[in-house]
């Protein structure tokens, strides 16, 4: 048992810091600071992604032969930490975190050769077509039909909650290729060009008034069967593999640290009763201390998981625990930040969140993204498996441990 970093890790941290100092433009840093969800402003994300690519760091989780890295779990965590501390924008997680590992695992040689470099370079921007209006938590009930006609699939139906579809040129999606007793058994995984005829991308306005999600409609869209990943009807297996990856590849504590540090900044100026700043109000600090302790507990749990992953690979139900705890704690910190924002949560000033914007805004600039982030993060316990579904998974694991 030890908490120390190796000399290599410490050197690595310095290397990352040095890289970020030179690579991050003020525009990117503003985009990072003004982030209000898991995505940052699109152009800034892409620029950062390209800078990472130039450095060979675009896809830490991929293996070296495909342009990834040989970093340890701890180095990945250090990388993530330093990016957040330097206010980097979020990188495009969909192609790299989600699709890439699936192509590496299930793709043909040709698919790997063509698609992986285009993900790294941002030549392709991917979105994920999983959920449908009638298939949310119950993803396996998805209905979007892919009928085999000659060597093509003909797609009809729609996908919803496809993040960034309005920026993407490609979508990977799950489609129904067979009716079967067990709905999971009739699903295939397709890679679709979004500029194909018959596809309509319809943006969904979020609570903060911005667009991150879309609904995508398919009407007789013909997709060549060579655009299938894996075998026909193997889609569910691929998606399961991917879902596990999605949950494993993130460090919640890093984002929570950033929220905590913003809260402390806000609390140093915002006044509690009698013109005393909140940071000197014992009732406030007692509450903040509790949340900080909870954050520490999550942080060390994430380390425990990471060091275990190094040996065993699959995160399993522990990743559900980290997702539930991380998102619910993030929401608690969002609520606290909103309270510190006080009356200034009211002005609607989305334009101030644009990384190009450098003018004045209403209220302290330190909390400018707080209200929008609060609204957006209500979805964090819904997407990627609701908190209810995650708790079902955890309970099943605990019961199974007892052999029941």
């Amino acid at each position: 048992m030890n908490l120390e970093l190796t000399p290599q890790d410490m050197a690595f941290r310095q290397e990352v810091q040095a890289f970020l100092t030179s690579a991050l433009t003020p525009h990117m840093r503003r985009a990072g600071l003004r982030t209000t969800s898991i995505f940052s402003e699109f152009e800034a994300s892409m620029s950062f992604q390209r800078a990472l690519h130039d450095q060979g760091w675009a896809a830490p989780d991929w293996s070296l032969e495909y342009g990834g890295t040989d970093w340890s779990q701890m180095q990945k965590a250090i990388f993530h930490e330093e990016c957040q501390r330097a206010n980097s924008p979020a990188t495009s997680s969909i192609g790299i975190q989600m699709l890439g590992p699936m192509i590496i695992r299930y793709g043909t040689t040709e698919q790997k050769r063509v698609l992986l470099p285009r993900i790294l370079s941002t030549a392709d921007v991917w979105c994920q077509g999983y959920s449908e209006p009638e298939a949310g938590s119950d993803l396996a009930s998805l209905q979007m039909k892919a009928e085999k006609v000659g060597d093509d699939y003909v797609l009809n139906g729609s996908k919803i909650w496809t993040s960034l579809a309005h920026h993407a040129n490609k979508m990977f999606c799950l489609v129904r290729t067979r009716k079967s007793e067990k709905p999971q058994a009739g699903i295939s995984f397709l890679l679709v060009d979004l500029d194909l005829p018959g596809i309509t991308v319809s943006p969904i306005v979020s609570l903060d008034g911005e667009v991150e999600q879309c609904q995508v409609f398919f009407e007789d869209v013909r997709v060549a069967s060579s655009q299938r990943l894996g075998e026909e009807n193997q889609g569910w297996e691929i998606a399961k593999y991917l879902l596990e990856h999605e949950r494993g590849g993130y460090s919640y504590y890093v984002a929570l640290d950033k929220q905590l540090s913003q809260i402390k900044t806000m609390a140093s100026s915002a006044c509690s009763e009698g013109d005393v700043p909140f940071i000197e109000d014992p009732v406030f600090t007692a509450e903040l201390a509790e949340l900080e302790i909870d954050k520490l507990a999550l942080e060390y749990t994430e380390y425990r998981l990471k060091t275990r992953l190094e040996e065993q690979g699959k995160p399993g139900a522990l990743s559900s625990m980290i997702k539930v705890t991380g998102t619910e704690l993030g929401q608690a910190l969002d609520e606290m930040a909103v309270r510190l924002r006080g009356q200034y949560l009211a002005p609607l000033q989305n334009h101030c969140l644009d990384p190009d914007f450098t003018g004045p805004c209403i209220g302290p600039v330190s909390g400018i993204n707080v209200m929008n982030r609060y609204l957006n993060n209500r979805a964090s316990t819904i997407y990627g498996g609701t908190a209810q579904i995650q708790r079902n998974i955890i309970a099943r694991m605990v019961l199974a441990r007892e052999g029941v």
């Binding site: 609570l207 309270r339 002005p347 609607l348 609204l375 957006n376 979805a379 819904i382």
Partner: protein, 391 residues
């Protein structure tokens, strides 16, 4: 003791509800919010014609003499329908200051409010305030029959459409009848030189502004009141505000509970309505309980306020604190149970969360209300030893 509405109160609730049901569907509300005007002026005029703007004013002021109960009924419906029209700002806040004063000028303005012909705003909040009892840094400097007002007022709802403002400031130099540091309330015209607005829309679909006062010179006859009386007046107005916002929240919670129950009954996943899932049932039960418990306390506070009970402020602090906490809880759960669809601008659910969040933070933090409740609770002289049945 009883919690029944009188026949007249029933009728008022019924007419408010049926008018809004016919004129304030969510789509209509969103059209207003998206439109060029900050609110629906035609609808405002209809509300005036229906007498609703007259509710809180005394008959001798041309009003209907409605009590705190009637106010609660009005704002409960405003909360249900997410009404963006400035009942709170013009009628209860600006009007609420004026109705507590006397004078011909004042009666004229009240008449204009009641008739729907004028808009007002109470410019009291400042950037550093955690509630309305925070110290006022705007200053009023007396110079030869006039006061020069300087300072900044923060997040003043309805300011962009206001024809007049009630502005609070502290006396900065010796003036007739004033001590240095006395709180003063001024009536300021929206065209007053030295008064400048930075207007904006708000997250809850209304308009507001930062109000800057740069030595605005106001005739001393427009000093409405000062000192302890002004302090007391501000407190009374904000007691009404607390009740109104708490009542809005119980209206909002009612809708959120109903909508959620209906949604989970119809939405199917895993081959069954999701209402079959026990964890969702329990969330729904908790939402309902939160809503009903808050409602009880808001009723109690309204009655205490109507009766001028000594512990009315204590009850208002408790009711608002409870309503805020409950409403946030209910809104969060409503979103969670609806799933992704409730995180969109299209569904009304999330708009309730926005209003509830503003309501819980705009005129004072929840923590300060809880503290205020506790302080009042610890002053045995000011109230009976227990607010329960004790005679």
């Amino acid at each position: 003791m009883n919690f029944d509405l009188s026949e007249e109160q029933h009728a008022l609730r019924e007419s408010l509800h049926s008018y809004l049901r016919n004129n304030y569907q969510f789509e209509q509300r969103q059209a207003t919010v998206a439109g060029p005007e900050p609110f629906n002026r035609a609808l405002w005029q209809e509300c005036a014609d229906l007498g609703w703007l007259a509710l809180p004013f005394a008959p001798e002021q041309g009003g209907l003499g409605g009590s705190a109960i009637e106010l609660m009924l009005l704002f409960e419906q405003c909360g249900r329908f997410l009404v963006v029209e400035p009942f709170l700002e013009t009628v209860l806040m600006a009007g609420g200051v004026l109705k507590r004063l006397r004078g011909n000028d004042i009666d004229t303005r009240l008449n204009a409010i009641i008739a729907g012909r004028t808009q007002g705003a109470l410019a009291h909040g400042e950037p550093q305030h955690c509630d309305e009892r925070g110290s006022v840094r705007c200053t009023a400097t007396y110079q030869g029959g006039a006061f020069a007002l300087s300072g900044r007022k923060a997040v003043i709802y309805n300011a962009p459409t206001a024809d007049f403002f009630i502005v609070s400031a502290t006396a900065g130099a010796v003036a007739p009848g004033l001590a240095r540091g006395d709180l003063c309330l001024f009536l300021v015209d929206s065209h007053q030189p030295g008064l400048a607005l930075t207007p904006y829309q708000t997250v809850d679909g209304r308009c507001a502004a930062e109000v800057n006062l740069n030595g605005a010179s106001v005739d001393s006859r427009l000093l409405l009141c000062s000192g302890d009386k002004a302090e007391q007046l501000i407190r009374s107005v904000f007691d009404d505000v607390a009740l109104a916002l708490a009542a809005e929240s119980i209206g909002a919670m009612d809708v959120l509970v109903s909508e959620t129950a209906r949604y989970i009954s119809h939405r199917k996943q895993f081959g069954q309505p999701i209402a079959e899932f026990q964890s969702l049932q329990h969330s729904l039960a908790d939402m309902y309980m939160a809503s009903e418990l808050a409602r009880s306390l808001v009723y109690a506070a309204a009655i205490k306020l109507r009766d001028g009970a000594q512990d009315a402020s204590l009850f208002l602090a408790a009711a608002k604190a409870k309503a805020d906490k409950s409403a946030v809880f209910v809104a969060h759960n409503a979103i969670q149970l609806h799933g992704g669809i409730a995180t969109t601008d299209e569904l009304k659910i999330g708009h309730y969360l926005k209003r509830i969040t503003v309501s819980a933070n705009l005129y004072g933090s929840r923590a300060s209300r809880v503290r205020r409740f506790w302080q009042a609770r610890c002053e045995p002289s000011k109230q009976s030893s227990s607010p329960e049945l004790a005679a």
